[in-house]
Symmetry: C2
Subunit: 321 residues, 2 copies
Amino acid sequence: LHAQENAQKVIAGDIRAAARLMRDLDDRMPGAIETLKLLYPHTGRAQILGITGSPGVGKSTLTDVLVGRLRAAGRKVGVVAVDPTSPFTGGAILGDRIRMQRHATDEGVFIRSLATRGQFGGLTASTRGVVAVMDAMGKDVILVETVGVGQDEVDIVSMADTTIIVTVPGLGDDIQALKAGILEAGDIFVVNKMDREDAQRTANQLQAMLAMEREGARAEGWAPPVLLTCARDGRGLDELLAAMDDHRTLLTADNNRLLLKRRKQRAFKELLDLIQNRTVTLLLERLGSHRDLEALAEEIASGQKDPYTVCDQIMAAAHLG
Amino acid sequence: LHAQENAQKVIAGDIRAAARLMRDLDDRMPGAIETLKLLYPHTGRAQILGITGSPGVGKSTLTDVLVGRLRAAGRKVGVVAVDPTSPFTGGAILGDRIRMQRHATDEGVFIRSLATRGQFGGLTASTRGVVAVMDAMGKDVILVETVGVGQDEVDIVSMADTTIIVTVPGLGDDIQALKAGILEAGDIFVVNKMDREDAQRTANQLQAMLAMEREGARAEGWAPPVLLTCARDGRGLDELLAAMDDHRTLLTADNNRLLLKRRKQRAFKELLDLIQNRTVTLLLERLGSHRDLEALAEEIASGQKDPYTVCDQIMAAAHLG
């Protein structure tokens, strides 16, 4: 009823209805999930791009420039800026405002910043919801920008059709970079700030690592390109956009064969996360309140009880297990 | 019985028994948790230090040098190197080997690398287990080293008594760094590679940001110092060790007042994670197999069903909710 009305508005591209739904999903308002369910049949059309890299490599500037280029090509764009660190500072809002200034008056761009909320579900679930809403709204391209290389980022990155990993000269020569392991997750690599000394050397090193690490790793027929860019003046952006198109062409060949494969993996993970979230919510409902947990945490901290025994007791009290 | 015997060996400092237990915990071997329960009453004595920062800032080298200094001062040291990115490359093992070479013959150092394992529980739970084992073994200091600034890192960092955040010159002047938000989590800040141009400027910027961001944020009476180091030649290490001691003194004042406060927060989070893990395991047992989930994921990927409806059906089938 109400859900149907809201869903129809979102599908028609109503920005206010979409923004309200995203907020309602975050706040776990009743009915929000019902609306989302109705949107799902209208999703799957958008191209989802992940952009990730360490802080300071210029991801936001690059995202900003990409938005400008995609808009100039007449494509409707959604941006999800994910900042998992903001439980501490709420920093996401700052980034949002700064970017909004440039694209604020452009109805074809929808920007949403996300930070971690609550104990459960978290960032990955929220990001999925926002992406689904933007997709149903009719965005052609959705850019998901994340900071860092933690597990959350790997999860979020795995939700993209095409993942762009951004680095800068001088970060590439440490053993840590070799270890970083996110190499496997990247479809396109970008060495931004190409003006800096050693940009070409960093690109060469990355290329060499990719050749080594991914030898035969993927039978998908894609050799991830390493591109040099300067987000501030736009150099290298044409090549990046071309690489994005090339990867899209690969994914959609043979009746979307590779695209569907990726999306199946994504759906499997989403399903597991949803089940996890739901069971825990159920358990906490059965338990009654958080307050008892805090008292138990105090006993654990002071060494009176161990957490495993306490967990056993809680499960028994909730008639689970 | 068997658990009791194992626990006694670990408490006596038996390295093989400890390593076996850590492996058994990772592999979810029956009995491993029973042993861990018996160890808990013997934990709480070790000083737990978190070391985090972006890839390439020299965390591993710094950890390595800190281990040397702490050993020289006669302290027993445990190192947990957490690399959340290795689902892709198994990179943790590489780092482990390289570090092991130097401290391999020193019985007073125990090094363990962790990568993400499995769908549930994951890195944070594994890290907690390893830290508890090292603590029960009688390690005086446990260094937990993590890559990056994602949610996992924030979780892991929140498990330390004292958190050291490492950066390098030239990463600090971007808006991303301001956004990074991990500022709130740091007790001590280190600008490593102090030879590089602009090291002092980076330190000053950090100091200014800290003054701004944390104005009145903590009533704990601690102004986080920003220190310059060069891990490769050991400069600044004396100051870092002194800051670590100062922070320890603060935490343990008034009968461990602040230390217990932090540990209570940690115990609360651990309890929630354990409950979450347990309920999901229970649900999956009731469901029977993963295979059905994969078939359902395929239906979601192809757009036939939405994940929320599928989740409803699964919960009903498992007689939950």
